[in-house]
Symmetry: C2
Subunit: 343 residues, 2 copies
């Protein structure tokens, strides 16, 4: 099937040792010999067997991603695909494999310890952190390098993470709406237990407080970020005795739902009502052009994937390089969905 090191060595009249060293850039091999080996390897399309190599070195050369699939709310996070694409680029160019494991979410803990016990990965990325997420302590216990995409509040264990500045993002967005004299601003957020949702809400509340606006529970909602969720939220809130004059959405998918909900009622975004959404720059829902459809807090989740992977690889190379953290700022992009309050 495929060439082995031994075969390659035999065909060159060299020992496996020398061939191995030649290909791995060790100094104790003659330059001419090295060239000869490299050429023969290329000609024979030789690639070292990953499993043998990592058995010998003790490094798996692979990073794991565990995707918990809740049995109750079976949503595959749409942000996930773009994040993975970004991370994958980095893994590929560094010779790492990406291992994905889809598990029922009550099995997630055992998935990690299984991954460690089997020695399948050198590190993992933790997705979708909740508030006080127990997985962080679990991973720390396992001694496996890991990086959280997002953060988790109320956890003492130090850990590495990459996050966007959710609080500031939504603070700014709210402030921006306030500057247009909006005082009834609805927040259509993600699931309550998600850490990012809480941070966004904090930013929102903070800005309201600063503007002297009393938050109205009727205008705050959390749930799985689907299109119909946005649609229903918009339609229901607009029927309130005191409807909102602006919406703040946690995902562009929800924003599309809100847009449709309002438009079905004959309301036009930017004129009759305002909307700011977070925009992860999902590739199939681009919100760009001269004047984007939505005013948005924008941050590329693809880029986040790239950076997260880079950080994790650094962590794998030097496990004691301490917790690595990065907070990405978002940009507030002006689109067509915002304007002054209509009276």
């Amino acid at each position: 099937m495929s060439v082995t090191l031994k075969q390659l060595a035999a065909s060159l009249d060299l020992s496996p040792t020398t061939v191995s060293r030649a290909l791995n850039g060790f100094p104790e091999v003659n330059a001419a010999t090295r060239r000869r080996v490299e050429q023969a390897a290329a000609a024979a399309n030789y690639h070292p067997n990953t499993r043998a190599k990592s058995l010998a070195t003790g490094r798996a050369q692979a990073i794991g991603h565990v995707i918990p699939l809740s049995t109750s709310h079976e949503i595959v996070n749409p942000v996930f695909a773009d994040f993975i694409a970004g991370a994958g680029e980095v893994y590929a160019s560094n010779g790492y494999e990406m291992i994905l494991r889809v598990v029922p979410d009550d099995d997630e803990a055992s998935a990690y310890s299984d991954l460690v016990a089997r020695g399948s990965v050198d590190g993992v990325i933790l997705h979708g952190p909740r508030i006080e997420d127990a997985r962080v302590a679990l991973l720390a216990d396992l001694g496996l390098p890991f990086l959280v995409h997002g953060r988790t509040s109320g956890v003492n264990t130090p850990y590495s993470w990459l996050d966007i500045n959710n609080q500031r993002s939504f603070h700014r967005a709210t402030e921006f709406l306030c500057s247009f004299d909006h005082r009834r601003i609805a927040l259509i957020n993600g699931l309550e237990e998600m850490d990012f949702a809480q941070r966004r809400r904090n930013g929102y509340l903070e800005a309201l407080a600063k503007a002297g606006i009393e938050p109205d529970p009727m205008l705050m909602r959390q749930g799985e970020m689907t299109e119909p969720y946005g649609y229903r939220a918009a339609q229901e809130m607009i029927q309130l005795p005191e409807p909102p004059t602006a919406f703040l959405a946690s995902s562009i998918i929800v924003a599309y739902g809100i847009l449709r909900g309002l438009s079905d009622l004959g309301l036009k975004l930017g004129r009759d009502i305002s909307l700011v959404t977070h925009d992860d720059e999902l590739s199939y829902l681009p919100n760009d052009g001269d004047v984007p459809l939505f005013t948005a807090t924008r941050s590329s989740v693809r880029e986040a994937g790239r950076r997260a992977a880079t950080m994790l690889l650094r962590l794998v190379a030097k496990p004691d390089s301490g917790p690595l953290t990065e907070l990405m700022e978002t940009s507030l992009v002006l689109g067509a969905s915002t304007g002054p309050v209509r009276r």
Copy 2:
């Protein structure tokens, strides 16, 4: 770090051989001994090292998915996440690992041969087949079991695939629109070179021919299936001297774009104009409820992932079980987006 077979054997005063056999269900081990071993293994959280195991057995216990990332049109296929989720479930419950490799699309060929040479996978799933896709022959040459998600026209090599009946689907959808007296039906399709797009177009043309309608090139469009693509297509076509009275969309994301495009012009789906879309049942864009938003040809891509994975595993177990094929029919689901022609 983690327990090895040798350690486990030593702690039990048994040989590695016996422990291995006990855990792998071989008959030549005493029932009492087996129980003892199993208990000790569970207590010690023993899991065999994957790499060592697969080195010894020659099977990788892993399936590869290669995700080509075109440098020109950088769209991460939104359908992909749900397909992966379905396939992942099956891999996990069969003890297989899922390996994802993100590669620039001009490197895709070498990605496969690399995967084979390194012995990292026992099989691969081929995504996004084009018309006359060269990758099929390539994979057949490599001798690696593989399964195509979709099909490819004009390829002689026999191969295994799982596809939905795209042609029939769009035939039925077109026929359905014709039955409402629509005669100007626009097709907003995926990228021309994709095999599924061609099949859908064939179904569409076939039905038009049967209804005695001359296809109008002005009403046929292909492109990357984003929301703005649908929006633009709708807006432009509606301005034609002879605008369409119905749309046929290849993706629910495009359908949302069309919906928005029409609604911006004050047109209401189902009343002023009709729309049928293909619906992959993406979890964050559910098109269900009593009366779904869109009339659609529906087929769960998550389920497709499950079935594809199951088929591939069967193929890996028995490589000569011949090419396996499965054609999934879609259901035509009546929603609120269709109605008779408005005059």
